[in-house]
Assembly symmetry: C2
């Protein structure tokens, strides 16, 4: 089965002439389309906004596109806050969702006027001591054994084992303390799934948070300005996987919103999510060339990209679809391991993958690298991270991150020490 | 059980006043001692040399110390070759062991006069075409199912599934071709183990290579200038693990050397290894402070370090011993998850670890970070890599790599794009 590409072979060959492989290329039209699809699914709500998880694709040009599409940014660290600031994103356009948070990160979040999402009630004192109490506060809820983790809970962890969020009891305590300290604006957040393809998981998450809002509102006499269902909407990495049913999710969440929230005559909270991967993931492509073909006990395709450019297969055993450019219609006759040049045996983009017969210099496109792709790269073995290109909606191509050089790799060293 | 530290609490507190946590600190005296122990174990051989696997700890100051101890460098990439060059290491002091190698890496290796270790016989033509045939050539052997992988073969892979090296048949072919092309100096190499604690594995590797040298020498009428047993000597990450028996390994390899090599009246080849981890690994420490204590469904110690500074626990589930500084003699009464602030649930240095009761601001020392520690760090979540310090043998402390800044993280971006 095939996965479509947003560029032709000829187009990509022209790009490669200007920008040598390997590189990630992102498809602006696709990103905007997906952003709109997400917004449209929730258009029946009083207010919906996705705060893009910056960590998925921390590139200013991409962030600007998403802001243009009406998104906020979910930042999780000092550098991500700085990135928002440099791009001109401030105030409540930022949700700051961190954990084990150092003082300077709270200071920066406070300075920018970001909405602060507290991971732990012990952070209340820490926050107050170092920066003061913000006007709007959110807590991250961890339901523990009350919820199962999603399909990928081997990665995100079972809720009761996860390091994130506060218990139910702590939530009640936390909001009560904050109310006493004079806070009037409240939000609630959870994040339980990762790359989840079953929409019903998010419906159950919404139900859980809506019920909680009802209880918290009544018991503490507070009202909620927003509810953040977290992110974690999955993408079909395998061509045979069904796409996530956004519309069905939004419809079912809408029913619960009416039933639980409006039914209890609560002031209607805004609905937030913090999806990263589902927005940009499917619209990124790692473009690489075949450097070597090797045949020992297996057949190996050696690329000019390596795991430093895409860690998910090595780190999680994740599947990424591979297209041999121009051979889309050829029969997949040969079993290959598709590998990089890093001196670690897990540097493999695919193991035992059926592909058309490949030649040296063939262009290999690895799909779905727009989320947690370039962002997770390391410099192990002295490997350098690639450039990032944007295929603009008008068909132009733009360099939005240059490739690393050896001088970047040496930047923190002192050869004269 | 405890693992010793090369510094006192007071000493470390003084260092922290100048250099804020987190940082890696390396113990020069320990590194030199281990380097000498390795050399001494093999002192009965006509010639022994370890080519330090640069990827384990690619820092120029450490590399200079190891060169001072008589080691060469094993480089696996362009950046590592450049690093050698900048440090002043050239010629046959470098072994270039790469795979899926791009042209420019062979060019650089050739220019530096490094010994080139070919991963695949198809690289012969590639090498000749792009740089020519070097005076000395080595092939990397992969015995396939003839050998089992070592204890950590889940990481390094079973030989017959690994992407590295040439088959037996290909070896005979490769040396024959190279002989025809006029090469007179030969070496042979393999690398089958990773973090292996059983010395007998290396003895069997030596036997395999010695027998192979005998056969190759006789059948092709060539002689071997060196045999490189590879690296992979393990270190006891857990305090109850037995240290690797270097002396026993060298003694048993010595017997085989006499029996197989000298017994066949072959010219005695030099003996090489390419250990990284065992040389520097035990002499590195990630020093961190407790930022937060969190109690939800488990007890969490939140550090100011995160997996960006040490990937092994998250990536491989690897054990790293933890010392709470100054509490070495306190009873280990509490079960903790020791975590960082990265927004991934696998950002945990330890899960369910028994430690003494910990307080905020306690100094936490994570052991055995001198190999594949800082080197494997990434910038995911906008997390920055730490500084590296050297505790010199005279007791002085030296900064040998500065910490990354947000500007480093932004270096490849163009905010005006």
């Amino acid at each position: 089965m095939q996965k479509p590409l947003p560029f032709t072979k000829k187009q990509l060959e022209t790009i490669i002439k200007q920008h040598p492989t390997p590189f990630h290329i992102y498809d602006e039209a696709g990103i905007r389309k997906t952003a709109r699809k997400l917004a449209r699914a929730f258009s029946g709500f009083p207010f919906f906004r996705n705060y893009f998880a910056v960590k998925a694709l921390p590139n200013p040009v991409i962030m600007k596109i998403l802001v243009d599409e009406g998104m906020g940014m979910d930042a999780s660290s000092y550098a991500e806050l700085m990135l928002c600031e440099r791009v001109g994103i401030t105030g409540e356009n930022i949700m700051f969702t961190s954990n084990d948070t150092p003082q300077e990160e709270y200071e920066k979040a406070f300075e920018l006027g970001a909405m602060i999402n507290l991971d732990d009630i012990s952070h209340i004192d820490y926050l107050e001591k170092h920066v003061g109490i913000p006007k709007i506060i959110c807590f991250r809820y961890n339901p523990g054994s009350l919820r199962k983790g999603g399909a990928h809970s081997h990665i995100i962890g079972k809720p009761e084992e996860a390091k994130f969020g506060a218990t139910r009891k702590q939530l009640f305590e936390g909001y009560a303390i904050m109310k006493k300290k004079g806070v009037k604006r409240f939000g609630i957040h959870t994040m339980l799934a990762s790359n989840e393809l079953d929409y019903r998981y998010f419906v159950e998450t919404a139900r859980m948070l809506f019920e909680l809002i009802k209880e918290l509102s009544k018991r503490l006499d507070i009202s909620f300005e927003f509810v953040n269902l977290g992110g974690g909407i999955g993408i079909p990495y395998r061509p045979q996987e069904e796409p996530f049913d956004l519309d069905r999710m939004a419809k079912d969440i809408g029913k619960l919103y009416k039933e639980i929230i409006l039914g209890a005559r609560l002031p209607p909270p805004k609905l937030f999510m913090e999806n990263g991967r589902m927005v940009t993931g499917p619209h990124g492509y790692l473009v690489s060339k075949v450097l070597h073909l090797k045949k020992t006990y297996k057949n190996f395709i050696g690329l000019d990209a390596c795991m430093a450019n895409l860690m998910r297969p090595a780190m999680y055993g994740a599947y990424h679809h591979i297209t041999v450019l121009g051979k889309e219609d050829k029969p997949t006759t040969t079993l290959y391991d598709v590998v990089g040049s890093l001196c670690e045996n897990n540097d493999k983009f695919a193991i035992d993958r059926r592909l058309p017969k490949v030649k040296i210099h063939d262009i290999i496109v690895i799909h779905d690298t727009g989320g947690h792709g370039h962002a997770m790269g390391f410099n192990y073995n002295g490997k350098l991270r690639t450039s990032e290109l944007l295929l603009k909606k008008n068909g132009e191509m733009k360099l939005i991150r240059r490739a690393e050089t050896v001088e970047d790799y040496f930047a923190t060293l002192n050869f004269f020490a």
